[in-house]
Symmetry: D2
Subunit: 256 residues, 4 copies
C-alpha cells in the first residue's frame, strides 16, 4: 500500500482558494441548435478549494471525473461540479472549458453557407450556489466614424472582437450572442464571400461606422433588454488598421 502523502495534515494553516489542473486538452461534444451536436476540442481547467488542514488534493480524480462527463451541456455542469466536490471532499468546485465553436452563416447576397469560428468558454462554479458564465469572442468588422467623417473618401476599418461574458440561470445559445455582437458592429465577418457579397459587406460597413465605444454600447443595449441575463461584461477590441496597437472599450453590468 503506497502512502497517501496528499492526505497528510498541514500545519501552515493557509486555506487554498483553488487547487487543480489546467491546460488539459480534451475532446468535447456540444449541443448545436441546427445540427444537433458539434464536436470540438477544449482546453480544460478544473479546481476545488482546499481546507487549511489538508496538505494536498488528489489531482488524478479531476481527470477521472472528466472522463465520466461525456458530451457537455451547460445544464449538466452543476451535477459535474457536485461530483467533483464529493470525490475530492471539497466545499467548492470550478470548471472552465475554452473551445472553438463553428456557427454556420449564409453570405448576405449569394446565400452561400460557410463557418465562422468563435472562441467560447463555459465557466461554472459551485460553492453554496451554482454560477454559470458563458463567454464568446466574436470576430466582427468595425469602420471608424472619425476617419469617414474627416476624409474625402474611404475610412479605415479592421477586424475586431466582441468579447462577451454573460451570467444566466437560463439557457442561452452561442448563436444568440453572436447575433448581438454582429448587430453592434459595422458588419459581420464570413469565411466565404463572392464578389457581390464583398460589395455588400464593404458598403454596409461604410454605412454603419462604429467606434469600439459605439459597438460595445450597442451590444450592451441588447443585453440589457434580455431578461434572462443577470450579469455581463462586454469588451470590443479592434485591431486598428492605421496603428500597430488595439483600441478597446468595456461595459459591465452589476449583478441584480
Amino acid at each position: 500500500m503506497l502512502k497517501d502523502v496528499q492526505a497528510q495534515q498541514d500545519v501552515r494553516h493557509i486555506p487554498l482558494k483553488h487547487v487543480g489542473i489546467k491546460d488539459l486538452k480534451w475532446p468535447l461534444v456540444l449541443k448545436d441548435p441546427k445540427r444537433g451536436e458539434q464536436h470540438s476540442v477544449a482546453v480544460v481547467q478544473l479546481s476545488v478549494d482546499l481546507p487549511k488542514e489538508q496538505r494536498g488534493t488528489h489531482m488524478s480524480r479531476f481527470v477521472e471525473c472528466l472522463k465520466e462527463l461525456g458530451g457537455v451541456r451547460p445544464s449538466d455542469l452543476e451535477k459535474f461540479l457536485d461530483n467533483l466536490k464529493e470525490k475530492l471532499g471539497a466545499r467548492s468546485a470550478m470548471v472552465k472549458l475554452n473551445f472553438p465553436y463553428f456557427v454556420t452563416k449564409k453570405a448576405p447576397v449569394s446565400g452561400i453557407e460557410s463557418y465562422l469560428d468563435v472562441e467560447c468558454h463555459f465557466r461554472a462554479e459551485k460553492g453554496e450556489k451554482f454560477v454559470l458564465d458563458l463567454g464568446v469572442d466574436v470576430p466582427v468588422h468595425t469602420l471608424c466614424p472619425c476617419s469617414k467623417e474627416i476624409s474625402k473618401y474611404g475610412a479605415h476599418n479592421q477586424r475586431a472582437w466582441a468579447r462577451m461574458t454573460v451570467r444566466s440561470q437560463k439557457p442561452i445559445w452561442i448563436e444568440e450572442l453572436v447575433e448581438m455582437a454582429e448587430k453592434g458592429a459595422s458588419s459581420p465577418l464570413f469565411s466565404l464571400l463572392k464578389r457581390p457579397d464583398e460589395k455588400f459587406v464593404t458598403e454596409e460597413a461604410y454605412e454603419n461606422p462604429r467606434f469600439v465605444e459605439d459597438a460595445v454600447r450597442d451590444i450592451a443595449l441588447q443585453l440589457n433588454a434580455d431578461s434572462r441575463i443577470d450579469w455581463y461584461s462586454v469588451t470590443v477590441e479592434s485591431q486598428e488598421s492605421i496603428h500597430n496597437h488595439n483600441a478597446f472599450a468595456t461595459v459591465e453590468k452589476g449583478e441584480e
Copy 2:
C-alpha cells in the same frame, strides 16, 4: 477645422468602465537596485472611464502622455495617471505595463553570474484613490513529494511558475519577490550552471520536495509576514513532467 466626432453627445446613456488602447509595445527604463537602471520592452495598456453623455475618447492622447513618461518608476505612476485623467477629462485612469526583467544571480557552487528573466507587470489605477499592483511570474523548480515517497529512487520534477501579484503603498523590489518565490520552491532556476552547480541543484530539489500546494503556502507565509503588503494573490503552476497538463494552487489574501 476637422470635426471632433468623439466629442459628440451620446444618447444611449451607457457609461463605459474602460476605454483605451492595448498591445502597444514601448521601450521602458526601470530602476535596478544593483545596476542603477535596466532597459526593457513593455506591452502597454492604458484606459480611462467614459461618462454616459460622451460618444468617444481621444485615443491619440494616450500615446502622447506615454511619450512624456520617460523612465518608469512605480512611484511616478500616480502622477502619470493624474495627467491621463486631466488630458482625457476622465474620473479614473488605468495603466498596465507587462515587461521582462532580468535578475542577476550567482550559481550556487561556482558563483558564476548570469541572468534569470522574470515576466513582470505594474498595474496602477487612480479613481478616488491610487492603487498599485506589482506582479511577477518567477520560474522555479518543483519536485513531487508523493513521487519521491512512493518510488524506489528518483522523483518527477519540473519547471514551475510562482505567479505573484502584490498590492502595497510602499516600494517593493522585484528581487524581493523573486527571493520569496525561490524559497517556497524545491530549488531556484539559473541560466548558467556548471557541473558542481547542477549536482547541488539536483540534490537540493530532492531534499526539498514541494507540491504546488506546499510552494504556494510557503510563499504565502512570507507575504503574510511582510507588513508592507496590503493584498496579494499567488498561484504556483507546475508543468507536470509526467502529464501533458499543469497543476496549480492559488492563495489570496483579503485587503485590510
Copy 3:
C-alpha cells in the same frame, strides 16, 4: 457584372511562389485506427503558385474547395490539391492542416485508459509530383543522465517534445510515430495516473536517462529501420527544469 480585378494582367513580371489563405479554423474528421474516426479542429493554410502575368488569385475558391473536402484522409489530399490547381488555374498547390489528435493510452500498472493530446500536421504539395509530410509533436518525459550520474540522489527531469516530420508514399498512423517517440524518451506521458502508475513512471524514467541528443538518436534509429519513410526531420526539445530555457537536438535524413 462586377469587374474581376484579380484577373488583370500584371506588368511587374514577378511570379509568386505561394498565394493563399492561412489561420482559417475548420472542423476536421480524421481516421482513427481504434475508434473508426475522430473529430478535431484544424488551422488551415492553402496556397497555389501565381504566374508572373496574373495580378491576383481568387481567394474565395480556396474555401469553396475546402467545403467539399469533408472528412480528411491523407490519401485524399492529392485529389484535393488537383482540384485546387484546376479551380485556381495553378501549376502547384499546397495544403497544411494543423490539429490536435487524441491517442488513447493505458496507464502502465492500473491499466486505466485516458487520452494523450498530440499536435499534428499534414502538409501536402502537388506540383509535378505529390509530396505528403506528416508531423507530430509528441509530449514525452526526459531525465538527465549527467544530473543522475553526478548527484547523490535524484536527477532533474522534465516534459519534452519529440517533434517528428516524416515523408512517405505509404500510410503511417499517428499512433506509430507516438510509439517511436515514447520509446526514445525516458518515459511516456499520461493524462491519468494512479499512485502505482506514478511509482512506475518515476522509476522507469530514472532507469532510462536520456539527453535530448540520446532521445533524438533513439528515435532516428527507429525511423531509419522503417522502409516506408523516405525522409524525416526529428527535433527533441526539453523544457529543462533547472533552467528557464530549452535544450534541443535535431537529426535530418536526406531524401532517397
Copy 4:
C-alpha cells in the same frame, strides 16, 4: 572530479545537425542609426553540429559565450560563431536572435514623432562560410483593390505584415527594410496620429489599393534593385477585415 557524461563515445553513429539551446531571453544592445544605440530583449537560439562519435554537447558553454558577446552588431556575429565552434569543438555553429526594435517615425502632416515596433531577427550560421540573414516583420496597411472597384463607396482595409528576410554580405539597416515595406503597402502605420494625419493616411490608403499579391511584388522590385542583397524571401500577410482568416503571398529570390 565529476564525470563528463556528455563526452562519452556514442555508438549509434548518427550525427546531429543541430544541438543547443532555445527560448533563452537575454538583454540586447543594438546599433541605431539615429540614436547611436537601442536596448531590446531577445529570444535566443544557439546551436552547433555534433559528430556521430560524441554523446552530447556541453550546453552551459552556449550561455558562457553569450555572456561575453555584449552589444550585438551583425558584423560581430561571425567572430561569435567562431568562438562557439572552438569552445564546443564543432564544425558549424548557428545563432538566432529574435527581438522587437523601435523605429522612430514622424506623423505625415503634424510631424509628431513616435515609435513603430518591428519584430526582427538575425540568423547567422558558420560552417565553411559565414551566412547572415536579417529578418523584419513590418506592420503595414493594405486596402483591397477589388473591394474599392466594385463598391459604391469605401473599401475594406486592414493591418498587414510584410515579413522580409534578406541575405547579404554588406550592412543593411532595419530602417531601410521598413521603408521598402511601407512603400509596397497602401500606407504605413504609426503609433501616434492626430486628426489631420488620420485624414491623410485614410486617403493615401484609398488612393493606393494593394492586394497582398501587389504589395509583395512591389517590395520584391525594390529588393531586386538593391545590389547588396544576395537572397530574399518576402511574405505579405494581411489580417483580412471581412474574414476571420488571413491572406498571404510569397516571393523568393534564388541565391546568386
